[in-house]
Amino acid sequence: MASTITKVEKLVGKRIRRREDPRLITGTATYVDDIQMPGMHYAAIVRSPHAAARIRSIDTKAAAETPSVAAIYTGKDTAKVGPVPCGASLPGLRIPHHYILATDRVYFVGHPVAVVVATDKYLARDAAEKIEIDWEVLPAVADPEKAIAAGAPPVHPEWPDNVAFNYHQEGGDVDKAFAEAEVVVKQRITSQRLIPAAMETRGVVAEWRAADRQLNLYTSTQVPHLVRTLVAGMLGLEENRMRVIAPEVGGGFGSKLNIYAEEALMGFVAMQIGKPVKWIESRRENFLTTIQGRGHVDYFELAAKKDGTILGIKLKLIQDLGAYHQLLTPAIPTLSVLMMPGLYRTQNVRADIIGAFTNCVPTDAYRGAGRPEATHGIERMVDILAAELKMDPAEIRIKNFVHREEFPFPTATGLMYDSGNYAAPLDKAMATVDYKKLRAEQAEARKQGKFMGIGICTYGEICGFGPSPATPAGGWESATVKIEPSGKVTVLTGTCSHGQGEETTFAQIAADELGVDIDDILVLRGDTAIVPYGIGTFGSRATAIGGTALYFALQELREKVKKFGAMMLESDDVAFANGRVTCNKTGQSKSFAEIAGATYRAMKLPPNTEPGLQSTHFWEPPNFTFGFGAHIVITDIDKDTGQVKIRRYVAVDDCGNILNPLIVDGQVHGGVAQGLGQALWEQAVYDDNGQLITGEYMDYAMPRAHMMPWVESDHTITPSPVNPLGVKGVGEAGTIGCSPAVVNSVVDALSPLGVRHLDMPLTPEKIWKVMAGGKN
């Protein structure tokens, strides 16, 4: 009997609303702080008010007498817990021992010193305030250039020069390039410290089941499996006795791609008291003690010919590391070096990094992690070169782009750009704003004394982190697909979405490959007891690597379903499409659910076939993927106040194939907001004593709705050859493309005053001063 086959609509590429949203919009999602357990205790952490000090003594007596207090621990109690790990390795890297609670000395404001555990969270905080610490305050240094200058106070006494590492990378013949140059431009460019400030602060619930020798750790993280491996190691616990659950995670942006002292500390406390314990980071603690981003001082030199051809690039990079290495701290600036040529063909580059210890919280991965700094540098330098040569900034970029027929393109920094058509997004963005007309309008505005700017950034970024040899913990990803006996499909992914919408995009992939209804698919992540080992979500990798692992797991199951269907239809000539296996000769077919049931009942098995329908695939990518794009920003500057008004923001991003345009738009908008925050408003400001001046939302100018321009987001599509989905990645694109475009626009607006460069953030005060002084 021939059956009717209804064509199932392909979902990949469709603008469909997210499947994770019902719980988020009804307030029924479970974040760490929403977890309640019988016997729950609450931890309050006592932290250093000084950036550098010796601990003479700690008096916990009054605190211990506070009602409801169950325990107090100091650095003496936790000294045997392993150090907070650094996953990065560089030649000669100096790694300070990072105790989870300070033992005899503190190195930054917010450094944890003691923990109070009580059955009431208000009383826990009361008790924490009663802990008396006798401090011997020491001189501190909060600026990376001052830290490496002679005579600076040593952050760690054993390394008085405050240099954690020197790193050198070189490609081509830089000396020759500079010797042959007709023009050399130089500029000091900073990329200020930023506070990631995910809306959900960090938080941990730890539950020790002594009889089972089992530690359950609920933590707001992007990398639950890495937390399990590393925190179990710190606690001396067998890895299989620890379960890490990342419940709903309220944003990360790299700040939760880490292993934190508090994760091990709560595990330690739970194992001591035998009761569950919760610690929720206050916003103040979040600003002081969660990793921060950026912290670059870059000295760039660009060698070029008079026609604008870039011959070579030199970079001296001073990275503000903070007081310790967190998981990837020293590796972040090396990513900047990898991307320092941007989209341009030059094969001669030289970079020297000095990693500087300061008495500040560590820096680490924050949205873009090294690539925004690199892009900001090269894109500012190209504009400075264009100004020097009186060339149009679009023209000079096009002249130096890697051509579309040159891919795969080997860079001077050792990367292999996978695919690209760099002129396409720039052309599209220029057409959108009518670039030529705009320049004419600008010339007219200048005659009237108005400050109008047009800023271009053409960026490239590394997505899909990454091949394992380039990633400290391995760069692969895992996916498991379980087709249940009823034909319902469960996907387990090693990625760990914290807002990126993988429950939706991964369901789209599975629905298309299996030809089943998307409502029959459930995507689970974030629990090490359920999901096979995975790496996590960061570095614009989840879809490119986790999605590809899923794709291959699905292919294996497609074959198996087809094989079972063929057996059931007693035919060698079958096709699997639209959720049915159909005999090509008779037209008879079996549904997906019928076949799934048969694989589990296993009354009859095809030769060399196991019962059941489950597949796990670990996918190792052969390369990174390289997204790119062009952002154009038009600004008008208020002559009286120095306020930057963004008239238009046009973003044309190429992230390869697009699985869900709605989600991609959201990623671009959010990325641009963080880039714009850096360009115009945000800065973690430390005073000379290492006190964080911008320690609350009141003082740290994170963008609010009325501050944001309308982002006109568009795309070109150049599929990646690295994975069968043809995807690249888009999580960080908006951030990377934004800040150079904005600063280029503002500098362009102010160029009649002789302004050549301004460091971020471009606050009204800074611009007003420049306008008042007439030059920079």
Partner: protein, 154 residues
Amino acid sequence: MKINLTINGKKYSPDVEPRLLLIHYLRDVAGLTGSHIGCETSLCGACTVELDGKAVKSCSMFAVQADGANLTTIEGLAENGKLHGMQEAFWNQHGAQCGFCTPGMIMASKQILDRNANPTDDEIRHGIEGNLCRCTGYQHIVNAVRAAAAAAGK
């Protein structure tokens, strides 16, 4: 102190410590964890709830100050399993990413339309300027409020 509250149509008469914050009462005592704590200083708006018809930040008032009040939290917006128009709009327009600011953002957005059925983009942006979001860049949230206004006007 003994207080009386109505939350999402249900009556509560708890005995609370005078210093207990309203957000902690809602989350830890009443078990309504949909309203979130993003800052404890009234700057982020994740804890926004409706108190006698007015959007308030529940981290910045004591539970005892809400004595006698009628409260609506995110959990009380949907009626008989049917999403409120603002919830539906946030879903359709991808107004949530990580979702942490979302309950407060929806409560603040609802207030905008309660006061002005047809707000401009500028009015929408100012209406939610007390609510921080780190994920969306606000654009899809603005779209959601617009869409909710359009749907309500039909």
